[in-house]
Each structure stands twice: as C-alpha cells, then as structure tokens.
Symmetry: D3
Subunit: 331 residues, 6 copies
C-alpha cells in the first residue's frame, strides 16, 4: 500500500517520492507523496534520518532539507535515507497530527497495512525502511506548544553496553543536553520497533514554538554532520564538522518534574531554558488576564534541576505542560 | 452600551471590569468583562496604556499585568489607565481577531455604538477613555505570525515639533529601535482618533510568535517605567528605572522593503533580528518540503538596511510577510 | 429585495412565503422562504405576531404554528399577521443567530435593503409589515442558554397612559409575571421601530433550554387567545379562553440583579424559577468538576426579589448569565 | 498509561487526579487529569460510583460532586470510589462524546492500553478500578438530546437470583421507575465488563436536556444515599435518607416502542414524562415550521404504556428519538 | 488601500499584482496579490475583462488566463485590462464567497475603502479601474451549485439605443443565448456602477458545477475574441475568430420561472440545457433517497420556454434553485 | 447491531429500512435508517445492487431509485436486493465519506460488529446480505472530484473462466468501456469479500462531479436492465432493453498511467473523456491563476491510450488525480 521507487543498490544520490494512496472528501483518488532522499557510498553503516514525524516541528525539517540537498554523495560511506518531513500533510497544515485522519504518527507504530493513512505510513517505515538500516535517528522538537533546550534523547537499555553505544551517538551530536529516558511507555512508538530489532535509536528535541531560528538550524546541521561522522558515514574527504562542547547528561527523574497548568492563563517563564533552578525557586508566573482579583501567581520549582522545557505558546490551558525540569543522570 | 464602574476622581488604585453586552449562540446574555486598572495621584499627566488589541500579542499583556498589580499607587502622579488585554476574547482564543465577530480591533476605530462587539469596544475607548487622557500608548507585538526586534512606533506628524515630542516619548521607552511611519493609512485606527484629537500617540512591536520571553518582558516592563517617568507620572519616591541604551531611529522607506512569500514553504531566516544586511545579501532560504526537485531557494535583501521583522511561524503561505527591512531615518 | 404574495384586502385566511434572495457557497441562487399567515375579518385592529426572532426559542414557534393552523378565520375581527419562525434559518440550525450571516435579528433593526440577509429581513419587517399594523407582539424565550419563568415584557414609555395600555395588553396574556424594562438600549431593536411609530409593542420570555414543554406551550397558546381577545380580534363566536390568574408586575432594578459566572463550572440552581429569595440567600452552587481542591461554591442573592431567569445549560462559562432577580415594580 | 496516586489501604478520604497523557495539536504534552475521590472505612462492601461517562449528562455529575465533597468519611463502611465526571473533556465541551478523539466512552469497553485517550480511559477503569470493587454504579441521563423520567436501569441476568439482587439495589435508589433491559447488545459497554466479572451493575437515566434541576439533583442525591445504605456503606451514625416511594418496574418490550422522527420538525410532546398513554393516543405533534402546507402532524402511541423518554431539544431531525414507551415488566 | 504598479500609458503588455493589505489570524500582515494584465496599442477603445468575481466560476478564469498569456500585444488596439481571477482567495478556496470575510464580491459595489477586504477590492475596481475604461465585461458562470447553457447577460436600459448597443456587444460574443434582464435589483453590483457611469456593461453565465470543459472554454475563448473584435480592439493583423451562430435573445419573464426545491432530494434533470419545454412538461424528478415511501416526484414546467439553468450538484436542499426557464424576448 | 425487517421468502416487492443504532453529539439515540428494496419471483438468480457506497456518487443512486420504484415485480425471476444509497449519511452530506465517523465504506470490509457505524454497516452487508446472493453489483462514479467515461469494472480472477463470466456480465451492462483491474489491493473492499466467497462481483464508474445528467442516468438505467436480463432476472414478459453497442475492454497498465497535480492550479482538460491520445500529446493545461509569471503549463500523455478519467473539479491541489489513461486489454 506504499510505493517508493528507489534502487537501494545504486551508488550516489537518488530522490523519489514515497507514494501512499489516500481518499478524502476533497480528493477521491489522492496520491500522497512524501519526498525521500537516498545516498549510497558502497557497503558500510546504514542510517535512516527522519524529520517531521510531528508536522509542526520544523527545525529538523529545515536541517534535513539542507542536508538532503547539500550533502556531497562522494563523501558518503554506507547508505543514508533522509526523509525531511515524514508527516508531510501535518507539516503543511501547521499541525502536530495528521490532518487526514487525526493520527499521531509517533503513537501508531508498528502500523497497519489496512488502516488509516497514518497507520499505513508507520507500517511502511516499519516494514520497508527500518529493516534496511542499522541506525534510526528521529528528530523532534517542541512543536507549536513546547520549547526545548536543544537536546538528544535516548531510552535507557536493559543492556548497559547498548546504553553506552546509544549515549555515545547521542553525545556525538553535540547538543547542550543529552536526556536519558527511563520511563515505561506503551509499545506504540518507532523507538519500540527499532530497539526491539536490536538497532540504534536516537531522538532529539530541538527548539519549538513552530519556529526555526538561525541558531537551532545551525546546531541541527552541525549535529547531523557530527553524528554521521561518528556513525562512520563520512569519508576523510569531508571537511570536519566543528567539534561540539561536551553535552551534559540528564534525565527527568519522575512525573513530578513535569509541571502542568491548572487554569487558562498567560504563563511567563522567568528563567531561560538550560538555567539551573533550586527547589522552591520561582520558575515563572501565571497571569490571569481575565481576572481583576488575581495577582500574578508564581510557579515554584518542585525540585532542583535545570529547565529543560517551557511552554511554546504564552497562553496555556488546564493540563498543558508549562515546564519540565531535568536532573543530572546517575545510573 | 458599555459600563465601567470607576470613580475617575478618587485617589489611589481602582480595579473594575469594562462590561459590554454580547449575544452568541453559546451565551444569549453574555456580559463580556475586560479588566481595567486605574491609578490616580492628583492632577497631572493622564495616560492610557493598552495591551492586547490583537489577542495573540502577549508580551505587552504580561508587562501591563505586572504593572497593574505591582505599581505602587503612592508614587503615581496624575492618572494612569491600564488595560492589559483590551481584546480579551481574542487573547483567550490565541487569536489576532475577535472570536465573537471576527473583528480586527485595530481597524475598527472610531467604532460604532450600534455595531458588533468589537465596534462597540472601539467606540467605548474612543468616547469614554481617550477624552480622559493626554497620552495613549498601544503596545503591540508580532503575534503568532510575525516576530519583531523590539521597537516603538510613531507616525510622522505634519507639525515637526509634535513629531519631536512623539519621538522623545518613544525613545524614552528604550527599545533598541524606534520606527517612524510615514505611510498613508485609512482612517480606521486608534492612532487616527488620538492624533486627530491632538494627543500623544505611541505604539510598539515587542517580539512575537505568540510567545513571551524573559528578555522581552523585562524590556517591556523597564520601558514602561522609563516612559511613565518621561511623561511625569512617577514621583521621586520611585526607584529609578534602569537607563536604556539609545534607541536607533529608523523607518521603512517603501513597500518594496516588505518581503512576501510566493508559495507554501518553510522559511528559514539566516540573520538575527536587528542585524544589518547589505543589498543582495541572503536573508534566508525557502525550503519546499513537498518537492523533490526544488532545492532551497535564497531570499536576497532588495535594499540595505537592518532586519526589523521576520516570520513568526516557520511554515509560510503565499502573501505572508517573511521579512521587513528598515533603514535609518532622515527627515 | 423581499417578496410576499399576500392580498392584504382579501377576507379570510391566506398563507404565503416571504421570499428573500440569498447567496451562499452552498446555494448560489438561494430563495429563502419564510412562512407567513394572514387572517382578515374586515376592518378592525391590526396585529403582527412574531416568533423565532432568535432561532433556538421554540415555545412561541410551536404556539404560533398551532394558532396559524388552528385559528378559525370566521371568528377573526380585523387583521392578524402570523410569522411563527421569523429567523427560520436559525431555527432549523438550532441556533440563536442566523447561520447565513451570523446576524442577531433582534439587533439589526430597522434593517438595510442593501445589507446581509438578516438586515434585509429586518428591513422588510420594518417597511412592509409594521406599517400595516397597530400592535406588534414579538414572542421570545430563553433559547438554548437561558430559562425564564414565563413572562411578558414591555418597555416603560415616557407617556404614562401609553405604559398603562402596554401593561394592560401584557397582563391580558396571563403569564405569571409581567416585566417592565426601564433600561436604556441602543436603537437597534424591533421595539424601537414599533414604539417610535407610536404603536403597541409587547414581548415575552417563555421557558427556554431550546425545549418546549406541554405547560409552556399551553400557556403560550392560551395567552395568545387572551391577548387577541383583549386587542379586539376575536368575535363573540369564539369560545372564551380560560381566564388567567393575575400577573405579578416586576422589573429588574439594575445591572447588579444580573449574575454572571466567573469561570467554567456546572451551575446548580437551588431554587425554582419564580421563587422569592431574600438578600444573601443561596440561589445555587458552582461545581468545579475539573478541580479536586474546590468544593462547591454557593452563589448568594445580592438583593431580595424573585428568581426570573436561570441558566439554560448546566455547564456555564465566564460571563454567562446564571441568574436574574426581579423585584416588584413601583413607578 | 494512566496514573492515580491513591493509597487504597488508607482509611478516610482521599482526593487525587487520574492522569492520562494525551497529545493534541493544541497541547503536545497534555496531562489529562480527572478528579477521583476515595472513601474508606475498614473492610466492607466496595463500590465504584461513576458520573459523566457521556459529557453532557450533568445531573449525576452534580450529585456526585456534592457527595464527594459532602460525605462524612467517619460514617463510611467499606470503600467507595467516586468519579463525578469520568469523561471530563466531554463534560467541559458540553458534548456527549470526547472532543479529544470523538470516542463514545460507553462503547469503548474493555478499552485498549495502546489506543485513543477514550480507549485508554476505558482500559484504566476495566483493569485498575473494576477489580477493586464489588458494585459499579454508572449514572447516566438524557444528555442534550433526550429527556428521561428519572429511573434506574439493570440488565436482566441469566441467573434469576442475580437479577433479583440487581433489582433490589436498583429499587433502593428510589427513582420513580426501574427499567429492566432484555435486549442484546454488543460487548462494548462497562456493563459487559462488570457483569461478566460477576459483580453488581446498576445504571440510571436522570433527566436530560444538558440541564440540572433542583428536583433531579435532589432525587439523585437522596437516591445515592439510599443506595449506599442498601449496599451496607453507611453506618448507623448516618442520618437516615428519606424513604422513597416504591419504584415501578418496567421494560421496553421491543424496537417498535422507540419512536423516531422522519423529518426535520419541531416536536411538541403533549404528555408529561411518566404519564400513561393508551395505544393510538396522541403523544405529541410534529410542527413543520418551514412549510406553509403542512399542518401539525400528530404522533400516535403504537402501544399502550408509560412515556419514559422524549426529545431533549425541540428541533428534531430524521432518525432522532422523539419518544420511548415502557410497559410493566413481567418475567 | 490598494496598489497596482501599472503604467497606463506604456504601450505593449504589462503584468502586475493588484496588492491589498489583509490581516487574518493566520497572517497578520498579509499582502493579498491578484494578477492583472494590461495590453495597450495606442488610443482606442478601453475595456476591462473580469473573471472569477465568484471564486468557483472557473470557465472564465481559464479563458482569461489563456487570453492574458496568449494575446499578441501587437494586434491590440486601444487598451485592455484583464483580471482572470478577481476574487482570487475564493477561487483558491473552491468557494463562491471570499474566505477572508465571507463577502459576496458581486454584492459589495461600489465598495468601501475602510471596509473588509472584499469591500476594499470593490472600491478599487470602482475608483481605479472603471474610470479608465469604456466597457466592462464581467464573466460569470454557474459555480458549484448551478449549471447554465452558455449565455451573455445584459440589463435592459431605459434608453433603447443603449440597450441596442449592449445587445450588439452581447451577441457578438456568440453564445447560444443572450439574456436580457428586466428585474429591479438593489444598487450593490458592479453593473450598477458601470451603467450609471454611462459605460457598456456585459456579463455572462458559462457552464457551471465548478468545472471547466473543453467546449465551454473553447466557446469562452472564441467569444472573447469576437467581442474584442466587435469593440474595435483587434487590428486586421489578427486572424479572424470563427463566426458564431446567431444568439437567441431571451429573458426570464418573472419570479415564477425560477424553480426551487422544497426539500432535500436528488434532483434528476430530464432535459438538456437549452431544450424547449412546454408548460406542464416534466423537467426532472426529485428522488427522496432517504424515504421508503416516496416515489420519485416529477417537476413540471410552470410555463413554456427553454431550459436556461439547472442545479450544479445533484443533491439539493430546500430553497435551492433547480431550474430556470427563459422565454423569447419581446420589447 | 443492525435490523432489517424483510421476509426473504415472500414473493413480490418489499421495502424496509436497514436500521443501525448510532450515537452522536447531536443525537444520543439515533436510529440510522437506510432504504432497502426487495423483489422476489420464485427461485432463481440472486443479486444485490448497491449504489452510494461513496455518498457523492449520485448517478447510480438515481438509477437505482428509479429501478426500485419502477420495476414491475411480476417480471422478476429470482430475487433482487436494491440499496440505492448505502452510505446514506454521506449522500445527504454531499460527501464521499461518512459524516458520522469519517469512514470510507469502500475500505472498511468485512466490517466489525463492535466498531464505528461505517464498520457495522460493512459488517451487516458482509454477514447478512452477501450470503443471500450470487451476484453483487456495486455502482460507483467519480464523485465530486473525479469524472469518468461511463464504464464497468471487474478484477481479473486467477481462474480464467471466472474472469470470462465476470467480463460477460460487465459487457452486458453496455457501458462504452469495460475496465479490467489487475492491481493488487489491500483486503479491505466489498470486492474482496464477494470474490473470496466465489460470487460474481461487478463495479462501475458512471460520470462524476457530484452531478447527474440525463445521459448518464439513461445509460445506468438501461445498463441495469440489460445486466438483469443477462443474469436471468427478467422474464419474457419484460419489454426488451435496448441493445447496447459493444463495450471496449481496457485496463490501466500501471501507476504511471495515473497523472497527479504537483501544485494548486486550475486544470483545463483539452480532450473529451474517451478520446484516444498518443504518447506525448497535450491532455490539458495547468493554469496558475495566482501567479503573474507562470504561463499555462501543458500536461503530456505519458503513454498512448484513451482518456478514462479527468478531474471532477476545475481547481486541483497537489496529489490530486487529474487524468487516468487506459489501454486496450490483452490477457
């Protein structure tokens, strides 16, 4: 139920659309086409780079678009698949979720060949792309409603050596932070598919607010080159990417490190992302702009740590995440 | 058609709702209430401070909320009216325009007592508030879809001395830029009402992207204190606001300094707001994420100047503004 | 811009559509047709009966539909125009406002022959129907979002004799309450058009919640017959309508008798409509169903009076009317 | 995929949020929180009380909110879990179905830990709450589009003794009617989960039209106390709830007792809920307000019985239920 | 409030955007741009050709796009302004009305410089373009919801000679029909502006159903050339357009020649557009697909004539136009 | 979960509603009713005729409505089930997909008794209707967004004799074209259910653009009679349907015969449906009505063949199908 006209054995650069049939009220026979780029320089490591799983996370889409159009095929070792905007309909709709079926692509794995467009897209990635690679890199960011200090994410593995390998890859990217997730999660993500297959899985959160800034794009572009170098994809002919500063390794110790709004308000963060906060410190203020009688209310840090994430839009509603605090990671 | 229970002669601080009847499918007898704060310290200058004329411009709403709740009435000279979120329904809807009638409050002046809610709100401001003051300050920012280098705005007046007075007030705010507008405009704005009445009119653009950041809020808060000091509203008892760096005075020389997208794309700005760009320099790139065959396309500066504004969301559509360039102002 | 094929001089019963051209995305040449019924029994009083000015106020629409189909033309004296569902598109859309243009018909008088459909409808009533009658009866009810103790409404007239005449007509209807409005209002209502023309104007509020109940329909049907009898429209041949109990005359003394929600909550009224409440008594409770920490909050009567109106839906939002209290009327 | 921080062994009263992660275009990391209350007075019967499975059924939500905030923990025997608004997002949206995924919570059991928010909520109830209790009480009402004479509902069980036990519990509630359902139904309801587990299952329909009235709330509150007393949850210290009149036991004999509209019309019920109607009697009238040529059309009772349910909104469309007739129950 | 960078004196072909500022929630500073083409070959007749006043009328947009890109400037005499898609936002939205403000451009003349986008667009046409020409041709078609036998339209003028001149122009186009309108209409159309200014006004209806067909485009293209030739715009160098068959002159004698649906149904036309029908003949059938008990219902022609227009979509609703019958025109 | 009150053994004509319970925000207990007609003339062939699987495909709905109301039961041999509008809610909503759940009925087979309304409808057809017949005819057309030369469709079967039988039935219908599909498809269609059960399956595409024309309805009506005759359903008493011209047998050789838009444009087809085109010939033009600088762009035929399908609406978006080319079929 998906078609991708790439010759996986051919050397050099190819570009083709992943085609998926869709059918909507506005287009009975819609042929959904998602750009895919492929670079091959002989045998070697095999890596899949994905951006735009959530449509409104644009930093990685820009960085992968630049890489797909700018990478010199002659310096590539092994094979690299680049999909800058995997959930393209969502990206074009300025939305996190697919406008075609409301699906959250990141929660539809391993997919279903007989299901919705989003499920069929997940199925294609699971069955046609993941088996062709050794490493999967899924670049996220905060999207419209969150903002992150740029960081890479890995899940802690049961095998410590494997965690070490994931961590080394994550740190090679050179983001200021590397986050190690320990939490349980339902078996619905690309990460589950990749990790269960014994492959390397790396994610990121790069900025947010449905924006791109010169800084985050630069970091993402440099980080991708550093990561590709680390994975053995770039021959010596390639100009060296800038060495990054060491990335601090943190985790989010528990659910109480996630702070949620109780009511509609403007949330004003008082600290920059990445700043260290002490338990009890004021992280920001809620402004109840519809109420005469409610002065701004401070939000205190429940634990010491560093500010990993804040709201991506000033106006927040009940249950929205307004801040996430991370702490240094100890195994 | 509007009710505001404030005693304009009473000294000290008052807080009251401006009440406007509204009637929607979801609320037959809706009593729309907009918080208004009033400070009076005897006779003296009289100023109206407005935020949130466009609902998704949140920086000024936070700064005015802080001022309304934090200003010590004992240091105030004259009278100050503060309306942090004038278009409150829009602010709560994360929207530029009023969700009640689709109205653009900033294009509905002088208003109409028999019209839509937005027109009746404009009418109230025109007929009940503007006549009570000498100065009107209307704080805008880029909203969801634009981002500005923080700046104050004035319209060039036919009387040079009056332009000077406006400029002095604008510069007292201490934003990095002061923009002088020369363009004609239809007679539909609050500015028209105020300027025609011979009063001082000052506007601003502070950030954007439907966000607030610690820096922009700090600038807006400090700028408001500096402006109030300049206008003679703060007695010596008040701790001095930080002196700001001089504000560069610019204008946008003509329509060709506004750059618009021709197609749906991700626009990646390559320059920071406020940077100087030379004619022909690359300001950013359009990334056509839905097209295999279109490499990133550079956008060149049509004229030298400094980058005043860029897009507030990464994904742009045809006709959206992606950049505005300003040039130094010469009379 | 409106067509109504009725021969105003012909005796007996006629039924015709008021036709108004409309143009929407779904119907380029839409011929909006609103049923109108006309009874004539020689010279005599002339009355216009209107229901459904707001689409979701169904009690009067049912009562007028019954009257239009059940009234024996042989007992009619003078002429009676009946429009059961004046804002028919809204009635069919379960909405207060017109789905064609968002217009609130009750705020669009005297209308505009070149304007929106709602404005053209108001214009037709003003210029084609009101001039043909001596009395106008505009039957409202609470609609989806309010509930009223059945009552008739009149505006206090500057001429006391005229107020008396209005009051006599209102009381003939036989609703439990007669409400006399003293408030100012913008010159946008049918009432303004009729009263300025020196004619008798009568309105009502009959139930609400977008419902009809056997009791309210019975009251409306009986009330209409009593009113027509009072106005001299029914000959002796007509069976006498039941005599109603005397109607209590009240007014709403001021804005503080209208109570509005401050927040989203379930509002539970503790008193039946029409009950007498003392100042400070608990009228109802707000239940904050989304909050663990907020026990039900009582709403106290700000003044003594009787409960005229409560919310028509249990879930209320900020600014919604949850209760109106009336007090006995003294000139 | 759900978190509820309650210590099931602790005596007394606890209040905690059931937390479910959600992800929407408007809130990437939304932490959906649903209030849960827990009372424990030693070993004893264990009961789960649920309101708001359909969001627009507000009577039970108010009654359970009052119980959760007003019940004295010292009189409780055994343990009681109270969830006043299980489908809280729907309740806040004035909707029957979840605004997050369109799910009908009452048709999503036993749920799915990897599914939509509604499916995960059903899964949590099935796997975390039902196993902790002996009795489940799921309080419904007519919602926006139906109105019921207050009643309790049980399904006839294959084991007569079990039906007797269910019936005894149902009748202890003291609603005017007790309805016994015999119809087959797909295996998708909470009832199926509970009954298959051999536990007591009781439902209700209490009023409707998205309203609460003093009478229905009083009945629900008293009924809950009577039911808790019946189930052995209230010690002698508790003041006795009023004894209810005996509840009439009825069933709906077959599909022809459900009456549906054929066309858009105003449906005017002519009988009060609970009235006895004879076969052929006029239950109400359809008013075709858009048609000159269609007089009101009577709806005749197809069978004798009592009027259990009518439409909750006056305007009905094709296929809407306008009346349900019940008959005395005979085994 | 509108900008169009065309040098009206320059010979040859120019292409420029008409630019109108707009402001929406999705684009704060939107620069709406509508393509305009200008041909000048010295002094001579001056004509404005407009397509797409209603967005979903595509035949003329295609024909004018072809003309604007294909017309050889060397054969042009006088000046021709071509705007293929005047209401471009509606055209791109597949809608009749503007998606920016809901405006019906064809009912907003003469426009308002301070109004909505649609009103400002009408104002620009009225004040900047109409004064520059002698003839205005506004090409319509049925749009999504109607289908016409291709025809040109004129309004009967009070001056018979002027009617003759209009008629001669209309017939030169060579559509099968020429329709002469006698009806009154509100003073809100472009036609009113043009005719009051003493200029030649010509309209058309060309096909419909939001489609273009090879035949209608060919007719429109040929008709435009014939019309331009008739108006004196084409020099002898231009290859002669095909001579058209004589166009039959008709009018729609009164409102009873417009037939409207009474209910939702599939309307099946039994006659081709342009066929002659006798009074009482069956024009088509209504199919009530939701009703078991309603056989197809014939629609009879109320008067003899020819079938000018039928429904553009098979499913019709109450008040939709399903057929228009025209009769031969007699002065 | 579905009820259909038909006595399958009774001779003659019956009409009954297929009833499916549904529950929406607008109708809590909705009884969805879909008209079904049944003709029986003793033992003999058994056929199910379906129209309106996609709601906006109206040709077959009209033809089957005419057949269901016009077929003389006395001439019928065997049994015929007719469902003119299977996805009735979509048909009434002018939509391809169900407005109740967004489901594409044609992709939901074999259905699910516990699923959405669309899934339960598919389940009913699979389990209650298909087992009662030998032949299934599912009449489609282009719907709003496509237009087809009228044709019948079959899938090539692995057993050549079976393909022959399907082909004979398809050709008996007498459409200008018969299309044989060879492509793989997911196991989600009615075709899969029927073919796997060893029964005859026939589909069609008849026109499009959400229209019906006299020609297509006539063809469909005649074709149905010819097909029923071929299948042995019409006794000699029946007047012979007109013999059709031989139907050309074609297939669509591969995905490159489907042509898709790359961008928003008006697509103008230059060829009539059914015309033969040579490789490289211009099929039509894209008109970029929003761009000054893009002249109309031709679309060339990638292969020789005949034009089977074009766009059903003039305005197309990226990924929409604008043309399909078919080639003569060779086994």
């Amino acid at each position: 139920m998906g078609r991708l006209n790439i010759n996986w054995e051919r050397e050099g650069r190819q570009a083709a659309y992943l085609e998926l049939p869709s059918s909507t009220n506005a287009s009975a026979w819609q042929n959904l086409r998602i750009p895919v780029f492929y670079f091959r320089g002989g045998e070697g490591p095999r890596t899949l780079l994905i951006g735009g799983s959530h449509g409104d996370e644009y930093e990685s889409q820009v960085a992968l678009s630049k890489l797909a159009h700018g990478l010199d095929p002659n310096v590539v070792l092994g094979s690299i698949i680049i999909i800058p905007s995997l959930n393209l309909p969502a990206a074009l709709a300025r939305a996190r979720l697919s406008p075609l079926d409301g699906g959250n692509l990141n929660r539809e794995f391993p997919g279903d060949a007989r299901g919705t467009v989003t499920q069929r897209l997940a199925h294609f990635v699971t069955h046609e792309l993941v088996p062709r690679v050794d490493n999967v890199v899924d670049l996220h960011s905060g999207g419209r409603t969150l903002q992150f200090l740029p960081c890479t994410f890995i899940h802690e593995q049961s095998d410590a050596a494997r965690t070490d390998a994931f961590l080394a890859a994550a740190q090679s990217f050179g983001a200021p932070l590397t986050v190690i997730l320990r939490e349980d999660h339902a078996d619905v993500m690309l990460d589950d598919v990749v990790e269960r297959a014994g492959k390397l899985m790396l994610a990121s959160e790069l900025g947010g607010s449905a924006l791109v800034t010169p800084d985050t794009v630069q970091l993402a572009s440099d980080g991708l080159l550093r990561l590709l170098k680390h994975l053995g994809h770039l021959s010596g002919d390639h100009s060296q990417p800038m060495v990054a500063a060491p990335s601090r390794v943190v985790s989010v110790p528990g659910p109480e490190y996630y702070l949620h709004a109780d009511d509609t308000a403007l949330f004003e963060p008082m600290r920059e992302l990445g700043e260290t906060v002490q338990e009890g410190a004021v992280i920001g203020f809620y402004h109840y702009i519809d109420r005469l009688d409610r002065a701004p209310v401070p939000l205190h840090a429940p634990h010491s740590g560093l500010l990993l994430c804040t709201n991506g839009e000033a106006l927040v509603h009940r249950d929205d995440t307004v801040a996430v605090i991370a702490a240094d990671y100890w195994r």
